[in-house]
């Protein structure tokens, strides 16, 4: 085993230990939380809501990201224009304003987003779609033009070349920046607190008004988010390693 392999293994072990320690601390804190036990139980739905908002927003953002990202590299003037405007607006306006807009303004016309969690999820997903679109565009554009030429010169169509040559390679390149984005979405889901979606941050403020334990409560909330984000980045690292191409770019 050479030094590099050893270092990698070491790193993996470290991150696993870190994860385990985090989880232990979280549960310890959970049990340490003062007062009655039904209150400990009630953290669970809040955590569940945070997870649900994040996952749905991430998946939705990925779908939007693929469509808008491909639109951004389209040579069609209109498609490209629409995609660019989408990205610029969603990226250029504070997320909190987008959440407010969705919940307070759009819900007047679309009653189904009257629910705070739904409004927050939609806003987060649409917003993340803009960022994921840029990541996907970057991934595709960083694949050398020679790959497309080689595919086309063998008689493959543009669509075939995209599907079998460009996207599979681009997909591998975007894993690290996507990890960033997913972690950001999880953290940004806390903004849903502002419109009263009953997720972790919102719940923590309620807990504080009841029990006035800001130090432990916020520490606890911080650890919940930290656990979720570490878990996500660890999963992404596994994905990255699984799709690693021998002798070529990316993680070992």
């Amino acid at each position: 085993m050479d030094l590099k392999e050893l270092a990698i293994q070491h790193k993996n072990t470290l991150s696993k230990i870190g994860l385990v320690i985090t989880i232990i601390i979280v549960f310890a804190l959970m049990l340490q939380q003062p007062v009655n036990s039904d209150y400990i139980d009630s953290w669970i739905p809040a955590i569940g809501k945070t997870i649900l908002i994040s996952i749905v927003a991430i998946v939705m953002g990925f779908g939007i990201g693929i469509i808008i990202g491909l639109g951004r590299i389209s040579r069609n003037f209109i498609i490209n224009g629409v995609a660019t405007v989408y990205v610029e607006i969603l990226r250029g306006v504070p997320l909190l304003i987008q959440i407010f807009f969705m919940y307070f303004a759009l819900s007047i016309y679309v009653p189904s987003i009257n629910d705070a969690a739904i409004a927050a999820t939609l806003a987060l997903g649409l917003n993340s779609g803009a960022y994921q679109a840029e990541i996907i565009r970057g991934g595709i554009q960083s694949i050398s033009g020679g790959q497309m030429e080689a595919a086309r010169s063998s008689g493959m169509s543009y669509i075939q070349a995209m599907r079998h040559v460009i996207l599979p390679q681009g997909f591998r390149l975007i894993i690290p920046p996507m990890t960033n984005e997913y972690v950001t979405v999880i953290k940004d889901s806390s903004l849903a607190y502002a419109i009263g979606a009953m997720e972790v941050t919102w719940f923590s403020t309620k807990v504080i008004t009841f029990h006035f334990e800001p130090l432990t409560t916020f520490l606890f909330v911080a650890l919940i988010y930290f656990t979720l984000t570490t878990f996500t980045s660890n999963i992404m690292r596994v994905v990255e390693r699984k799709f690693h191409i021998p002798g070529y770019m990316g993680a070992e």
């Binding site: 010169s153 493959m156 070529y248």
Partner: protein, 254 residues
């Protein structure tokens, strides 16, 4: 009379202000090996890439097997599958093994079954002496091996002509030989080839005809022995003198 496999008529191509090809005409007969030589910037690669319309010519006509391939109603993908290309920078699909690099276009373009494509891929790898590297990824191969896989990928399609765009220019000197060997083998097998090259030894020994391109025009073309020993064009003479000195290619046998 035999129809030329490729006939280029008065091809013009500009990139912005840069008028690269200024009315180039040339023919490639079936079974012929044509070497395109000339100084850097003379438009050699552009000319080659115009043949399969990777670069779209601004004016002029290209006949393939007697039929024009210019125009909106032409299925260029079908045409390209019969005139596959080998690139200077190999351009192997980096996420696929050597075998899959070859079988992907066979399956996608020729619609062969997985088994058939795999069989042909291994056969092609055999011909370039890399069967044992079938499951290696491009990143695990040397430059010379990558280019040999790229050549296998190109001829596994059973094209009517193979286009080579400076296939050895990106290789370390000690790896050039193995690639030229494979190309020679293909030439002797009767494959029609158009080769843009700086390898004067290859042009002289293997090509049936040499086209000397200078400043976007065909300055001279003909039998390699004559061009290398007694070029009629002054620019050709100067160019050959310069590169042959640099390469120290021994004079042709008398």
């Amino acid at each position: 009379m035999v129809t030329p496999l490729i006939e280029m008529k008065n091809i013009h191509k500009s990139f912005g202000e840069n008028h690269v090809l200024k009315g180039v005409s040339m023919k490639v007969m079936p079974g012929e090996v044509v070497a395109i030589i000339g100084p850097s910037g003379s438009g050699k690669s552009t000319l080659l890439r115009c043949i399969n319309r990777l670069n779209e010519p601004d004016a002029g006509d290209i006949l393939f097997d007697g039929y024009t391939i210019i125009g909106k109603d032409i299925d260029i993908d079908l045409v390209r599958s019969q005139m596959t290309m080998v690139f200077q920078s190999f351009n192997l699909f980096m996420h696929l093994t050597a075998r899959k690099n070859i079988s992907l276009p066979l399956r996608e373009v020729k619609k062969l079954s997985k088994e058939e494509a795999d069989r042909l891929a291994l056969e092609a790898l055999d011909k370039v002496g890399l069967r044992e590297k079938a499951d290696a990824y491009p990143g695990e191969l040397s430059g010379g091996q990558q280019q040999r896989v790229a050549i296998a990928r190109a001829f596994a399609m059973h094209p009517k002509v193979l286009l080579f765009d400076e296939p050895t220019s990106a290789l370390d000197p000690e790896l050039i030989g193995e690639v030229l060997e494979v190309m020679k083998k293909l030439a002797y097998m009767g494959m029609t080839m158009v080769v843009v090259t700086h390898e004067m030894g290859f042009a002289r020994d293997v090509a049936d005809r040499v086209v000397f391109l200078d400043q976007g025009m065909v300055a001279e073309e003909g039998d390699p022995d004559r061009i290398f020993s007694n070029p009629s064009n002054e620019r050709t003479r100067q160019f050959l003198k310069r590169v042959l000195q640099a390469e120290q290619v021994p004079p042709p046998p008398q």
